[in-house]
Point group: D2
Chain length 215, copies 4
Amino acid sequence: MPFLVTGFEPFGGQHHNPSQAVLGLLPSQVGSLETTSPYGPSETVTAILPVDSGGVAKELSRLYRKYKPEAALHLGLAEGRALISLERLALNLMDFSIPDNTGVVREDQTIVPGGPLALGSRLPLRRILESWQRENIPATLSNSAGTYLCNQVMYLALSSLPQEVPVGFIHLPPDETLALKKTSPYTPLAVQAQAVRLALETTLNYVADRFRRTR
Amino acid sequence: MPFLVTGFEPFGGQHHNPSQAVLGLLPSQVGSLETTSPYGPSETVTAILPVDSGGVAKELSRLYRKYKPEAALHLGLAEGRALISLERLALNLMDFSIPDNTGVVREDQTIVPGGPLALGSRLPLRRILESWQRENIPATLSNSAGTYLCNQVMYLALSSLPQEVPVGFIHLPPDETLALKKTSPYTPLAVQAQAVRLALETTLNYVADRFRRTR
Amino acid sequence: MPFLVTGFEPFGGQHHNPSQAVLGLLPSQVGSLETTSPYGPSETVTAILPVDSGGVAKELSRLYRKYKPEAALHLGLAEGRALISLERLALNLMDFSIPDNTGVVREDQTIVPGGPLALGSRLPLRRILESWQRENIPATLSNSAGTYLCNQVMYLALSSLPQEVPVGFIHLPPDETLALKKTSPYTPLAVQAQAVRLALETTLNYVADRFRRTR
Amino acid sequence: MPFLVTGFEPFGGQHHNPSQAVLGLLPSQVGSLETTSPYGPSETVTAILPVDSGGVAKELSRLYRKYKPEAALHLGLAEGRALISLERLALNLMDFSIPDNTGVVREDQTIVPGGPLALGSRLPLRRILESWQRENIPATLSNSAGTYLCNQVMYLALSSLPQEVPVGFIHLPPDETLALKKTSPYTPLAVQAQAVRLALETTLNYVADRFRRTR
C-alpha cells in the first residue's frame, strides 16, 4: 500500500505553487526494510489537487479509492508564512478571502454538515518536528490551517480515511520562485522537499512501531 | 592583492553570527585568469570584526594596512530581515538601540566628524543583484544599513579606503542556526555563502572590466 | 443578571495588560430598555484573572457561581497582533511557549480530559464585526486563540457555562502603553474600550432578539 | 509668515491618503504669543501635492514662492509601517517600485544632479519625539524615507528652501479608513492629526528659542 502525497495547482493569479513543485523532488520509495513498515519500504504516489472547492472532495475520494493509501500527507501553500508549518487540526469551516479557481467564494459554511468543529492531525507531530530539528530545518507547529482549500482538504481527509490511517497536512511557505517575484520570506524548495521526505519517513516509522507494539 | 571579506562576532547575547559562519564557506580564490582581474584570480582573505564601536576603526585600519585589499566586502547580521540585502549607502551616524559587546551605547553621534552625511556603496550593485537573480537567490537592495556597528564599519570603510577600491556591505538575515532558536524567517547559510561568493566574483569582473576600459 | 467581563493581570515580565486596563473604561450598564435584554439594561461586572494555569479554573467557577452571568466576555492580550481579534473557537489544548505567572509550563496537555478538540464561540460573531465596521474600528476574525491562558479560559468558559449563555473571547492588541516601550503596532486603549462596549451591546441585543423570537 | 504643511493625493490605485485627510484636522494657527515665534502664533497653510514625479518640483516651487513659509512640514503615506515615523534624511535618489500617478517609473535616477547623496532633516527631531512620547503617541525615528515621491519631495524641500528654514518629513501609517479595507496595522487619523500638530508646535518653539538665543 502506498503513501499518498498531494499538492495543489497554482491559485490566486500565480503560476507556481511549491506544494506542486515539491512533489517532483520526492523519492519514489520511502523507508527501508528494517526501520519502517512491516511490508518493507513504501511506494510514494503523488497527485495534484484542483483549487476547486466544489470538486476537490470527489477528486480526493477517487484518489483514496484508487490507491487505498497506507498514509496520506496533503501539502498546500501558506503565502504569508516564512517557515514550513505542521498543522495540528482542521476546522469544519469554509470562509474564503479570495475565490477558488472556479470563482467560488464561501462564507461561514461547514465542510461536513453535522461533523465535529475540529479534527486533529493523525500524523506523529512531535516526532516529525524532531526529525526536522535534527536536520536543522526551522519549522513551526500551527494551530490553524486557515479556512480555505487547504483546511477543506485536511478536514475531508481526516473525516473520510479510516481512523487508523495516518493523515495530516503541511503548509509550505513561498519558495525561491515565488520570493524572487514578491521579495517575500521563503524556504528553498530543496529544503521543503527534504522536510516532506522526513515527514514521510517519520510517519512510516511510526506506523511500523505501532504495528510491532500491537502484534 | 587580495579581496578582503569581514564578518562580525556574535552580539546581543547570541552565540552565533551568520556573517562569521559564512566566512568559512567561502572559496580561497575567486575569479579566473580570463574573466576577472588583470592579475588573475584574487585571493580571499577573511577577518572577524569585534562588535566594539570604540575599537573597530583601529582593527579595520590594521586589516587595510596589512592586506592592501583590491576590494573589500563587509558582512553583518540584520536580525529582523528575511532576505540578503545589499546596502546602498552608509550614514555618518551612530544611534544604538542595544549596547555593543563592550557595553557602549551611542546616541546621535557622528562616525567621522565633519564627514558627509552619507557615503554610497562602491560595489557594482545592479550587477550583483543580477548575479543573484540568475542563480535564483531572493534578495533586496537596502536604503539603510541601520545606525549600529554594521553601518559604522561600512562608513569607515568607504571613508578610509582609496576611492578606486570597490567597497560595500551586505546584510545577512538569520540562518538556520538562529531560526531554529527563534522561529524567525531565515536564509540557509549555504545560500548566503553562494550569494557572497557571487558578489565577490561580480565585483572582480567589474574591476577587470574597468581596468580593460581604462587601459 | 449581569454581563461578566474579564481581563488578565500582566504576564511575561510586563507591568501592564490592556485587557486589564480596558475594564476601567467600560460603562457600568450596557443596553437600554427597548433594544436589549427583556429585563432592561444589563449591569457590567468585571474581574481580573490570574495568569495561573493551575488556579484559573477555580477562579472562573467562583465568578460564575457568584454572578450567574447572563453573558460572559473574556479578554486577553495578543502581543504579536496589531488589531482587535474576535476568536472563533477554543482548543482543548495547552502548549505554552512561556511559563505562566506561577512558573508552570504545559506541553501538549488537554484542558478538559475527554472534552471535544474544539468549542465554538457563542457570541454573535458577524454582528459584532459589523458593529465595529460601522464605527470604523479595524478588526479581524481569528481562527486560533493560541494554546496559552487565553485559550484555556475560553475553553473553560465554553465548557462550564450553560449552553444558552453567550460566551466568547476577544484578543486585544498592544495599546499605546505597551507600544511606547516596544515600538510595536498598537490600537489605542480608548478604541479597544469602544470595541468591547460595542461587543457587549451587540451581544445583549442578540440575547433580546432570541428571547423575543422564542416567546 | 506661515507654516506650510503638505500631504499627497491618493496613489497606487487607492482612493484615500491619510496625509491628505489629516490636513483637514489641523488647526489654522499653531503656537501662542509667549511660547513660540517672535511674531506670535503662526498661520498654518496646507496643500495637496500630486503624485507626479515630473511635476512635483514645479508645484513645490510655486508653493514656496507663494507662501514664503517660516517652516515646512511635508507628509506622506508609508503603507507598510504601523507607526508614525519621523524621517532623518532624504536621499538624492529615485527608484520606484510602482509607477507614479502619471505612469512614470524611475530607476536609480538622481533628484538634483550633482547634489549631495543625502540631506538631513532640519526639524528638531528629538524634541518632536519627546512631545509625542509625552502625549503617549508611539512613533519611530526613520533612517529611510524610501526612494519614491515622499523622499523626492523631502529632498527637493531640503535643497530649495533657505538653510535657516526648518523643513522635514513625517511618514504617516495607514489610518482606519485604509485598515478597514486591507486589515493592516494602523494609527487612527485623530492620533495622526495630534502628532502633526505637536510637530508643528514643537518646531515653532524651536524657531522661537533659536531667535531668542541669537538676538
